[in-house]
Symmetry: C2
């Protein structure tokens, strides 16, 4: 048994049995080891940005990390943008990145690069396994770091560590420490803040966005009047019958207006909102000056317990939670005529199956659906978290691997969809139950808005050439066909309703090109 086998066994011993991969020569001993472990499910992505986002989607839904297998610095580099999103989502993940044999590094062979420098910006933990004997301890350390932070742990595996024999015992599961509880003193302070505030709010994120935790938050709102807010939560259990926090708007002016009255804010898994970008003359932080902010618990804490302790302290346990919407979406009139993103939102909200997983990289096209979601069937919402476009199709892919019995619906802007379209092939290969809706507006619509924000209204040739993606128009049905995914094009609301219904009534991947 060599180091590569030991790495596989350590992962398996700790319940990690899915590996999203795109290996290369330096990882061949690890591939050979994986081939000896049929209990590890290896899922190939045809590009590393697919691999890392799929691992993100998987972990958000499985509530445990997947492993990734990446080929040296360039393979890691290709996966970094979606590791950036995973880092912002606080998704636990273990990247295995191959490197040359330790003694080969000095020759600066063509594929040599500074992997640590590449990995560090997106990782909460980076380590190198230089000998087979240290692989078990390093893998366990990576696993515990990924869970504790939670975040992306990157384990660099030298080829000679993988191919050498080792002397250790067969791995057994490590003991994972329980998440720390919120500080009791802070709980009392938070309760005081919510009681004394003229206009208090709680900003929720992480596992505080699961239905049971939100139920408790809803009781706190009922008892204190504190508004519940959220922003880009990695996984939000949403829909009718569930407590629904309000979303801090993306445009700075809207956010400032929405937040201007708050004087007391408690953070439970969320962060104090900041502007996504700086704009001349506009502030970078969005809460009003003088607002008192207390972080009760961060994502490393047990957030459900923090909410329970706060509810206890406030004595709101028996109240009926606020902020629950009834299941009214099916009563909306069916859209007709021209296809718009709003028509898609209504059609989707009406027909959304219970337990659906909605992966949302709709960028400018899914605002209306966000408004309607609270009245649709209960579902999970997985958004782009770090602003690095190209997460959507592979995120849905990974979520579908984690939850084969739930329908996954990908809401996909066309510009960002092109970044990692290769994920459609993995959906076909694994026969994943994903409906991808491509909002085909043939431009980087968000950037056209931002150009107007910087005062440019008449675009010249260069601006048009950089912000529009028509000429030629992308034909998403052909792209999907090229990767083995069935597809249909909707030009009217009626088309969309028909195609969406058909896609929901069958298993397996399907893509709808929605011409909006």
């Amino acid at each position: 048994m060599n180091g590569a086998d030991l790495l596989c066994d350590t992962l398996l011993a700790n319940g990690i049995n899915v590996c999203f991969a795109n290996p290369g020569t330096s990882e061949m001993h690890f591939v050979a080891a994986l081939d000896r472990k049929p209990q590890m499910r290896c899922v190939l992505g045809l590009f590393e940005g697919v691999v890392t986002a799929a691992a993100d989607g998987y972990a958000r839904m499985a509530d445990k990390p997947a492993a990734t297998l990446l080929h040296l610095g360039p393979g890691l580099a290709n996966g970094l943008a979606n590791l950036h999103n995973a880092r912002r989502a606080r998704t636990p993940m273990i990247n295995i990145v191959g490197d040359h044999a330790t003694y080969h590094l000095r020759y600066d062979a063509p594929l040599t690069s500074d992997i640590d420098s590449l990995a560090r910006p997106m990782s909460c933990w980076v380590g190198r396994a230089t000998t087979a004997n240290e692989i078990r301890a390093m893998t366990e350390e990576a696993y515990l770091a990924a869970l504790a932070h939670p975040g992306v742990a990157t384990l660099i595996l030298h080829a000679d560590a993988a191919w050498s024999g080792h002397e250790g015992e067969a791995p057994t599961p490590v003991t994972v420490p329980a998440r720390p509880k919120a500080d009791a003193v802070k709980v009392r302070e938070a309760a005081g803040l919510l009681r004394s505030g003229r206009k208090p709010a709680i900003i929720l994120g992480g596992t505080a966005m699961r239905a049971a935790a939100l139920e408790v938050a809803g009781k706190i709102e009922a008892g204190t009047g504190a508004a519940l807010l959220t922003q880009r939560a990695a996984r939000w259990e949403r829909g009718a019958g569930r407590v629904t926090p309000a979303v801090v708007p993306y445009p700075v002016d809207h956010a400032l207006r929405a937040l201007k009255e708050f004087d007391s804010v408690v953070l439970i898994g969320g962060t104090a909102p900041v502007a996504f970008f700086a704009y001349p003359g506009k502030p970078g932080t969005l809460l009003p000056e003088g607002c008192r902010i207390l972080e009760l618990a961060g994502q490393e804490h047990d957030l459900a317990a923090a909410l329970a302790m706060l509810a206890d302290e406030l004595g709101v346990g028996s109240l009926r939670p606020s902020g629950i919407h009834p299941y009214t979406a099916p009563d909306l009139p069916a859209p007709t005529g021209a296809l718009t993103s709003d028509a898609i939102a209504v059609a989707m909200a009406r027909a959304l199956p219970e337990g659906a997983i909605v992966c949302d990289e709709g960028i400018t096209s899914t605002r209306r659906f966000s408004e309607l979601a609270a009245t649709a069937a209960p579902h999970d919402h997985l958004p782009i978290t770090g602003g690095a476009i190209g997460i959507g199709i592979p995120l849905a892919t990974g979520a579908a691997v984690a939850c084969p019995d739930r329908k996954v619906i990908g809401l996909q802007a066309d510009g960002s969809g092109m970044y990692t379209l290769q994920a459609l092939w993995t959906q076909a290969r694994e026969n994943l139950d994903v409906v991808t809706i491509v909002y085909s507006n043939r431009g980087y619509a968000i950037l056209k808005g931002e150009m107007r924000n910087v005062g440019v209204n008449d675009f010249g040739r260069n601006a048009r050439r950089m912000l529009e993606i028509e000429d030629p128009a992308l034909d998403w049905c052909s792209l999907a066909k090229g990767m083995g995914v069935e597809a249909g094009r909707a030009e009217t609301a009626e088309d969309f309703i028909r195609l969406f219904g058909a896609a929901l009534s069958r298993k397996g991947p399907f893509l709808i090109e929605a011409a909006i």
Copy 2:
């Protein structure tokens, strides 16, 4: 006039008039500035790996840098794998990477990351423009660094530096220092080494692989018997009538056999060959022990001058160069029947147009063409240089932007082609004269060989699932159609000859899916 305008003007003043781009919100002021400069040609890539490889292909053929425009850390990250290749190719390039306004960094907004840490491994120069007033000096420094090294210079442009006014004059061209000449003492030493060696060789790279420089190298070979060798030269002026160095083989055992007799080696733009990867029990360096190695000139030097000085010292200036092949490829019998990579090689060598630019990411499929190339019409050969797959289609795209009057032929493995297939869209958008030949063998053929190298001959499910990319088969004609590129599928040699002929006889992009 703001900092963004100044940056554009500084680039234009120094002859940089092509910008491969995929911008985002933090770059909107720069996009607005580009929009005011119609003399700058902005070429959009639908993914940053397309942008950086296109800039590489452009600079290899234009002999001057292009600019790239990338969106923050994730945008840069997406381009890094092909920056790795550009770094190994020693391609001059100026990356403009947007960053938040300086004062916004402290808020750790979602798209914030450590851009320096990401840029450094692939860049010979990294700088930050934090105010408009320093933009001109920083841009000039980046330009000079990119040329001198030569390599990838990364200029991080803060949004507030871009949008602020500045006080400087309109930029004028900087004085670019001449490349240093080789040291005269070393020239004498090199001449002595070649004269005294039992079996001498010269390893060529960089601009020493241009036809005129190779002609001089051929005279040195004629006068001294020194073998001419090369490895992954970024641009090789190759074909009938030109001096043709031998290529150091990729497999370690073959390379060791090919090099085992050499006792004296002079490096002129090349490096001492090392194994691409380490293998248990095999050496990492490929020249025999005790071989005397002298670096006469590196890629920062004037390599043509180094060869001329050496030829002078050896008194070989009037000799007829060795290593020239006649134009015999058209006399090869036309292949018939089943389509193989060898049949494609013969068909291509027979019909290759003079002045073609062959961009080669064929990996396992283009060995035969490499052998025949010396007998085909004179052409340029641009290979993958750093082993980071996904360079081919965008490299061809950039070369075609640089040389609109030459036919570009992309030799593309299917596995690596999927990495940056989005470049086909740019070929369609810009109506570039590129024929892409996809070797559709439906697997990572090179890795199957490497698995056998590690002793695995019977692949189990996991190995098959990671090394084969059939099930579903990729349909490259549909993929091309989806991005507006015409395509045809060749299943026999006759099909291929017909499609290749048709593609050569017209302008504009065309893709041939070659079922091998």
